[in-house]
Symmetry: D2
Subunit: 373 residues, 4 copies
């Protein structure tokens, strides 16, 4: 069990510090403006030159100097009009109150008591505006953003948005597995994904449709030929083929088929992925633990610019749970920025913000306005 020492209040840094200041509570259950809000850490209050610890410590409460001279930590609702309440914001003793944070929080961040300091949480805001600016910047400077996606992107009908990003030159290369291409092509050929309709219903006989889609592409010989022959007429793979965006489909042991384009040897697959990772200036990892961690493994945390200078390689990792992002970081991809949401919703809003950013930049350049969508 960890034990802690009290601060040495005879040390020079504690000399010259003032007594804490107390102000009357203006009404029952109401604190004076500027009240000191407590933490759950050992706290020392200077009263008449002596540093004292208040009784019944807890966070989110007030420091009350009782009429009997006792110091208490008390919830605001229990403070009565006229009671003496400590004021101040500083926790370093400069206003007569010292929070002994270093002992407890020494190795977590800044050693300051804070809320919301976790690295990845669904409770944190998602800055779509920033992501949109980075994406447009990358495109404008000729960067090479690699997109790494799992099949949820297709299941959940973010297909159209992904197609939009491909067609509008935001995708340097697409790295994915067999399933992404299979469901995308099933959607093009049969209008379903894993036999599920666009409104989420399981269809009769639907369990075989992805096998039928695979079979047609195998008969054609490759995805590109299936596009040429009019078997695949829309969707993500169609957009890659028609826009000339390179894709790497790597195999896994759960693959159905696989499609003819899939690299079934995992070592050859890594080499093919790395050929793109070496060129990457940004990475967008969506709804895939396997491919995200594989890519993180082979990606530097930085980009070396043409002039030799270094910058961080922006790495966005989108998943429904905090776990995948934490796992990615736990395997060394510390630069990953986590977005905890549904892949479909992410794609839709990101596209919206990128469209707005494009419109802003266009308008900024004084060109005639058109409807942005």
């Amino acid at each position: 069990m960890t034990r802690f020492s009290h601060p040495d209040f005879t040390a020079p840094r504690f000399q010259q510090l003032p007594d804490a200041r107390f102000v009357d509570a203006p009404a029952d259950g109401v604190l004076p403006e500027g009240f000191f809000s407590t933490t759950n850490l050992p706290t020392y209050v200077r009263v008449n030159g002596a540093w004292r610890m208040p009784r019944e410590p807890r966070m989110d409460s007030a420091l009350v100097l009782g009429r009997d001279g006792e110091l208490w930590v008390r919830e605001a609702r229990r403070v009565e009009q006229g009671e003496r309440v400590a004021v101040g914001a500083a926790e370093d003793g400069s206003e007569g109150i010292f929070v002994h944070a270093a002992a407890f929080l020494g190795d977590t961040g800044s050693g300051e008591f804070k809320f919301m300091s976790s690295e990845v949480s669904r409770e944190k805001p998602i800055d779509y505006g920033l992501m949109a600016r980075i994406l447009v910047d990358e495109r404008d400077r000729g960067g090479y953003p690699i997109w790494v996606t799992g099949p949820a992107l297709v299941h959940s009908r973010a297909r159209n948005d992904m197609v939009w990003f491909i067609q509008n030159h935001f995708v340097g290369a697409l790295l994915a597995g067999n399933a992404v291409a299979v469901h995308d092509i099933e959607a093009s050929v049969f209008g379903t994904t894993l036999g599920m309709s666009g409104t989420g219903e399981a269809t009769q006989g639907g369990h075989g449709l992805h096998m039928r889609a695979i079979n047609r592409v195998r008969a054609a010989g490759s995805i590109a030929r299936a596009v040429e022959q009019g078997i695949v007429t829309d969707g993500i793979m169609h957009a890659c083929v028609t826009c000339g965006v390179p894709f790497v489909l790597t195999g896994s042991i759960r693959d159905d088929g696989p499609l003819p384009d899939v690299i079934t040897d995992s070592v050859a697959g890594q080499d093919a992925m790395r050929a793109h990772a070496i060129k990457a200036t940004m990475a967008v990892l969506i709804a895939t633990a396997l491919h995200a961690i594989a890519t993180g493994n082979m990606l530097p945390a930085f980009v070396t610019e043409a002039d030799g200078s270094l910058r961080e390689l922006p790495t966005i990792c989108v998943d429904s749970s905090e776990f995948v992002v934490s796992k990615l970081k736990d395997r060394g991809t510390h630069q990953a920025f986590g977005v905890v949401t549904n892949a479909q919703d992410f794609m839709h809003i990101l596209r919206l913000y990128v469209e707005r950013e494009l419109e802003l930049r266009r308008v900024g350049r004084r060109e005639p306005a058109t409807v942005a969508g």
Copy 2:
């Protein structure tokens, strides 16, 4: 361990059924069009009048009649040109292939082998269009949609979208806890939620800001008075007060403060919530297990229309994980429709779709166009 009987193929329903039909594989690893795609259930194939089980059963594969007369289940990639492959889609024997599904799947849904039959999954598409139509319908018919929300709605900056729904008459009543109002008011007064800035950074001294926000409202006496006095100038609670939308804030043991408007007695709180639940014609439950289940408990699964007819009470439950929705259903709110996503993204896209729906209806009515947002 569950044991199963083979079907009784002497029964009348199995008489008159044809033999299965086999077609040559057109190339190595390519199946004939219309191939039968296997399941993992006991399967019987009629060959020369006899029902036989193939060897090495598995799903997603082909039925191959070997040259030695043996029946095999084989992955497409292992089928050679010219091998005899069963064709057909029916699993009821009418094309000579019978899948013994009833024995295994008797009590799960329709007794048919299907993919994607779970009730709640992040892999299912979210039908924002449908939800938007229901919301606009409810508003137009004078319905009473109750919105029940957790603090993630405020943390994650969906505040503006919630305000929009309140101001545009989509909210009959807002049911929430102390925290929703506290963070919303902290955002109005200090620009932070739990001390976290709008871009997700923990701010210095931020841990006390929600306490300061509470204290100001306590000093004012109520949220409505804090709005009147200009202490609270925007946000969800401000919109409720200024638009006259009723709200119920119920207390919990983790509340800071609480705010003066909070009903701290849970039984009185239930009564206050139920006064709205009785009138509800729709429920939108966002990012809160406690309040969602409380509301589900007191909500009928149906609405009785003025003419005495019955319809389902649309109940949308939004959460980052499947668990909360399953839990709600496990406690009897079977009518709940689950949306597995981030609350911020849900609000943003739902608003977008409602705006589009409004525009569609306006245009459909031939009224002059205005900017919709």
Copy 3:
């Protein structure tokens, strides 16, 4: 929006049914024994020969016949002494109360209003006793249980328990990926997994240890040779080698190394896995989405016994979240039984129960007792 019809109370099935029976509440807030507990579905109560719907419907409440003749749904706490409360348990009208469940719940299970009807939930009890009996039965009858595991099993120190199952003949074959073997061998050589110590601390220089472990096995030529040469002296792979339990390690694009034993071609890997899946009489899938779904894909839902009879193939799927089990079922492995827990804890308790089961059977056979562990 789904609409529903009222039941046709003129139909023969509703004739001859009795009026509901009402009993006085014995005290304020206390209901008579045998009170009818409401659901949230349309409910009809027979009073003086007429079927009437009560007002303010909700679940978990009482049916009260007010002194004014009005029928109410009311929470027990609001019922006063002497008020008339309906009694009965039947919901089919046979006691004068009819719940119109079929209309609402027609396609979910039995059409009866129930709690806790989800298929997979952390809130459901885990029947370790049953799993232990099945495992011991399988061993005793010469079954072939395949174990399919992810690296969490090694990270989280369930290694010893897995070794115990291997050494005690509960494992027919082990199917896993490169990472399971890498971390297991890192633990044997360096005492860490991914550089993390046995108490969960990241160690200095630890990030390279798994690479050093891989390098030693590559130098030896194979895992078996590394065991022979004394490089690997304990753990899961060591137990497989020394006990002659076959293992299949299949490659993936996120593999480090890989180890020399890994089958890097995913199609060849599937064939190697299927050679075991064909023989399987049971499957235990632990903490791996990829390998669990791959195995589920190639596994029949049933076992054909030597005498030609059929039984379910017991399939246990263990994961920290409901999602993986639901996903497995959504891909057709409907027979999977989900256990939502931590892999380390699962292994520890399962072993404990298997040890108890073995002791029970031994004692049952009148052999002298020894300490079971």
Copy 4:
């Protein structure tokens, strides 16, 4: 976008450092012992007195000095026999290799590249031995451990284990909500929880059983009276009553009933909880977000010993997901130690380890051995 400067290699700290040392690869795909394992951070290698950055950086790979004098980062499997590979473990330049970690990882922990540095993860080992020692220590020194639990503890049949901890004096006080007591008493009276049998099946008519259990206790007047009257004959509440362990049941808006002992006012409930929190020397928070955060809010992070010295207040937080623990920490309870597992399994293993610890201490005191269970 964050930009970084190269280190200033003219600075004194970089003088006197040696060139990196290179050793021949002993075979194709095998590195020399002691090889340097790369990170994904900017890395500088001293060759002939000059600091150079290798090409194609990634983690988990080797530094190879090509025959052409070029420096490469290369996966071990691609290294050929006889190629020159850098050796060394130090990343501070003292062996001729410098990893520029500070720039990138400045504010995360020690500024060193590490794996597995997340605070809460299901992939971390759970140290039951340590928790058992702390619990026994607390009991032996007369500490006051507070246990705070959610209903999963009862649902999932960890009831017996909780009873054992109560009966064996490991529980200073039990803080919970209405549902814990309701399900516990339903289990005693009817053998079900929320109508679900001990093997997890929903029972017919089961949805009303918890209401019947509540009604009997309301009729008795209190839980203690229900125990006296033989209505409640086993379980957690029974153990609290018969062992004299204080409990606090606080109300919430989702409560059924509630039971007569429940404090329905949340402010009064907080005061009742805090009376125990003030005395707490340890906290065990199991499967409850609401009560865990409430307790964390009112708990100091430290204990003041009788002699005035300070130690950390051990705070164990058990939940099925990382989220609850992160949320607790994000609200200031930084001392919380997270255990990500199923509540049932946690209780069972913790009891096992406490029993072992007791046996160890007893044996250590030379008392005669008995069977420990």
